[in-house]
Each structure stands twice: as C-alpha cells, then as structure tokens.
C-alpha cells in the first residue's frame, strides 16, 4: 500500500444519500446469494444427477412408446420436484446461519442495509437459483422428449407406409398425445412454486435455528407433516367424536403447516389431466401468499436477533 503522499489517497467525496428502500440493495444481496449458491459444488452434483436421471429414463421402458413417454415424463418431473425441493431446503438452510457463523453478516449489516432487505435479498437469490435449475432441467426434458417423439414418429411412418391417411393421422395423434403436452408447463411452474415455498419456510426456520443441521432436520419433518396437513384439516373440520387433545393436535397441524398436497398437481398432469386456469391461478396465489408470509416472518424474527 502506498500512502506516502496525500495525492495517493482518493478525494474525500461525500457518501451517497441513503434511501429507505432500495431494490438495488436487495438485488445486490440476491445476486451475491446466487453467486454463493452456484459456486457450491453440491449444486453441480445435484444438477448433474437430475439431468442424468432425466436422460436415463429413456432406457427404462422398451415395450411401447406410450410406456416410454409416460415413464420419461414421470421421471423428469419427479426429478425436477425432488431436486428443487432438496435444493430449496439445503441451500436456504445454510444462508443465514453461515453468515452468522462466518460473521460475514457484520460486514453486510454494518452498511446501511435494513434487515428486511437482507432477508428479502437472500430469498430472492434462492428463488433465482431454483428458477435457473428448473429452466435447465425443463430444457433437457423437452429436448429428450422431442428427440424420442421424432424417433417414434419416423418409425411409425415407415411401418405405416401405404396405410389409409386417417389411420396414419390417428397413429400420429396417439404418439403426440402421449408425448409432450403443453399442460406440463403449468405443472412445472407449480413444482417451482412449491420449491419456493419450501425455501421461504426454511429461511424462516433458519432465523431461530441454532445450526444448519437443525434447520434441515426440522424442515424434513415439516415436509412430511405438510403433506398430511390436508388429512388433518379435513379430519379436524369434520370429525366430532375425537378427544380434546386429538382435536388440538389436528388444529395445530392444520393451522401451522402449509398444505403441500395443493402443490402436487404434477402427478395428475403427467397423467394427462389439464389444469384449469382458475385452479392454476388460485394455487399460484396461495403459493405466493405463503412465500410472502414466511419471508416477512423471517425478517421479523431476524430483526430481533442479537448478532
């Protein structure tokens, strides 16, 4: 460092004016979070695994094209669902505790950064990571599906050379119907939304968890209980014969946990069931609502945390 003369030092200009809310700060933290997560080796390992799973599903059924396409869709969307759910929990669980443990949170919050923006920036970074992952996997899935569909179409046309045109049209229609379906896109979006919900919930848990592992273990429980929330809810709303303790327990499950079954539409979408616009929008709105509430609660708890 050369500090030998005054001229070596930059001029003492004034600091920029503080803005109470700044999307620039949120984006800086989000971009920083995204960089941190992308540079994690576990991210690449998981992504490669998911892509291999999608690609390998073409070898899983050799009997008929319907079976092959069905399994390809099931495995691809299942891989997307598993990968994004795991990534959402594992990546988010480490964000705030890691910053606290490494004390890098001091260098961030010693700046004019409100804690709300810090928390929002973190979750936006994770959502961006999940979005990129889903996009990469969707592209891989569409490419594999398209390639297989075209291969089956070629074989079918060869085999049906000379057949009446309407039969050929029926055969091609059957191939296309069992291959890619535009209804899969809303299903993929719902998978993404579910992962975002899990990320926001993980962030909330991590604000009061003592360690990274604790957060992941708690979220594993929350994940499974949330898939049973619908059962608990319906039982609580309808059942009148059970004891007080049971009813209190069911009520707590129904009130505290999100209903993750609402976001499990993809199992039926791959079966060919179309999602109506109304159902999709309501599900999406519910998801956004959950994400917002959990993020705000995370910010609120973090606001009172001693660093």
């Amino acid at each position: 460092m050369k500090f030998s003369t005054r001229e070596d030092l930059p001029c003492t200009e004034t600091a920029p004016r503080h803005r109470p809310f700044s999307s620039g700060r949120i984006l800086a933290i989000a971009s920083n979070t995204l960089t941190e997560l992308i540079r994690l080796r576990v991210f690449y390992a998981l992504l490669v695994f998911a892509l291999l799973l999608i690609g390998s599903s073409i070898f899983m059924a050799q009997l008929s094209f319907q079976q092959e396409f069905q399994i390809l869709k099931d495995v691809a969307l299942g891989a997307m669902s598993i990968f994004t759910s795991v990534l959402a929990i594992v990546a988010t669980a480490r964000l705030i505790p890691q910053d606290l443990e490494d004390r890098t949170v001091y260098t961030i919050l010693a700046r004019p950064v409100p804690r709300l923006e810090y928390v929002v920036g973190k979750i936006v970074g994770v959502l961006a990571l999940l979005g990129i992952s889903i996009l990469v996997m969707s592209v891989a899935f569409v490419l594999v599906m398209y390639g297989r569909e075209q291969a089956v179409v070629r074989v079918t046309l060869r085999q049906m050379a000379g057949a009446p045109p309407d039969q050929v049209a029926d055969a091609l229609r059957a191939i296309r119907a069992s291959a890619f379906n535009v209804n899969l896109f809303p299903g993929i979006l719902i998978v993404y939304l579910k992962a975002c919900l899990l990320a926001a919930l993980t962030l909330f848990v991590s604000t009061f968890a003592s360690t990274n592992i604790f957060t992941i273990v708690v979220m594993a429980f929350v994940y499974f209980i949330s898939h049973l929330e619908a059962t608990a809810r319906e039982y609580w709303l309808q059942e009148h014969g059970s004891g007080l303790v049971t009813r209190i327990f069911l009520a707590l499950v129904a009130l505290l946990f999100p209903d993750l079954q609402e976001f499990n539409l993809v199992d039926d979408i791959v079966a060919g069931t179309a999602v109506s616009l109304g159902l999709f929008l309501k599900t999406a709105a519910l998801g956004v609502f959950y994400i917002t509430i959990y993020t705000l609660l995370a910010a609120w708890v973090f606001y009172g945390k001693e660093l």
Partner: protein
Amino acid sequence: MTDPAVTVRDLTKVFPVPWRRQSVVAVSNLNLRIEPGEVYGLLGPNGSGKSTTLKIILGLVSPTRGCTQIFGEDSRRVQSRQAVGFLPENPYFQKFLTGEETLRFAGRLCGLGGAQLNKRIDELLELVGLNKARKRRLGTYSKGMLQRIGLAQALINHPRLVVLDEPTAGVDPAGSREIRDLIVDLKRRGITVLLSSHLLAQAQEICDRVGILAEGALVREGHLQELIAIENQTELVIADASADLLREIESVINRSSAKLVERRKSTTTLERLFLEATQNGATRLRGEQNDTPPQ
C-alpha cells in the same frame, strides 16, 4: 455546532444466559464522545466490552439501556451507517467472492453503481496494492491481503467515520506501518477514526484520545499525551554529549531538589530496526542483482 462523530450515553448491555440466573454484563453505564476528525482508541483486555460497544455503535446489537449516535443520528437507524466504514476483526468476508466482487458488493450496498463504482473499485484496489489479485477469490488471500481488502471495502463509500476493529492484528510489521500511515492520512483528511486494539504500542503512536475499558466500564479516558505523561518527570534526549557534560548535569540535579531517576542510552524500536533491516537488505539485494554481469 457540529454533532460529535460518535456519542455514547449511559450505555449498558446485558446478555441473558439461558437456563442460568446470572446474566453477563458486557457494558456498564458507558459514556463516550468522539469529536469529528480525531483518532480515538478504544482499548481494553479481552472480554472488556470493546467489540460489544463497537457493535452497538454500528447498530448490529441493541443496547439494554442508553443510546449511541453517529453524527447526531441514532445508530439504531439504518441511515446512520450511510457514511460509516467498518473493518471487522479477522476480516469476515465471503470467501467465494473475488477481491473485485467484494468491493462491488460493498459499493452496491451503499448505493454506488455504474461507472462511479467501477472507478472507485479501481482506485481502491490500486491503493491497497491488490490490483493483480482482483480476480482471485478471497479464500486464496493471505491474512495481510484480507486486511487490505477489508480496508478497501471500509473506504468504498467515502465514509466520514471509519471503525477499525483490531486493524493490525496478524499483519506483518511493514503492513502494520502502512495501516498506521493510512490512519494518519485519514485523520488529515478530516475523517474520524474509531479503532479498537490491544496492541498498545501501536495505539500509542496514532491515537489522539483513548478510552480504556475493563469489565464493561470505562476506567480511564483522555488525550493520550496527558494520560501517559508522568507528571513529575521530564525527559531530555541529548546527542553527542561528552562524559564531562553528563557529570556536570548530574551534579546540577543533585544540588537541586530534583532527583535523577534513570540514565540510559536512547533506544530505537524493534519495529524500526526490522523495517530498516528488511528494506536495506532488499535494496542491497537489488543492487547486487543489477551488478551481476549478464550471462
């Protein structure tokens, strides 16, 4: 009348200990006032409450009682930190970022952006001598490099107050000297410096005023020269004095009511000796290399 750079009023911080009845009193009824443009040293042993006090001033921890202000603004408010730069102890930076990315991140958090931020990053990397390492991740930086990037990020937003927590800890003597020179230059530019250290000799060289904490309380505070001066003793440093002159001075003292406490040779510091030796050694080596005939 301008606001003081830092005001600490009746500050108390108590940390409750879960499952135990007795809490930990980290800071107790602390009062401080740091004027703009001065270098203030907050000194004390480990566990004296220095770091807690700095964190409360920076709004990272809330006080149990009392308040702190930065240039008249309550330090619990986010905008109070707009003109503050902070270099933490054992720099807490994200190891996955490069030097340039670290400064860019810090600048964006302060509201800088675009060409202005790029220019500032270039200036600061040049200043701290990390231009060649700007694309390397912080995980590969040495301790001294981390300290330098820490200083750079603390200065990114043209702060009026710079808070340095153990700025020379773990840094070699040359780097330590450079950091101290920087602090002196910051002061010359009117920037207030609040530093915390337990390297007393270094603090003695640069601080205008110091506060000494012990067990959470301020036990001594004031201008450095006043604090360390021994009231009834005077030092004379004489060069090229003959033995006769020294004997005559001693006899004058003995005839008066004063008492000669100590007579010894003046000493340099180990740091100056180290710097002279290493710089002279480097110069001699360069001269020998220049003299070496080409092969």
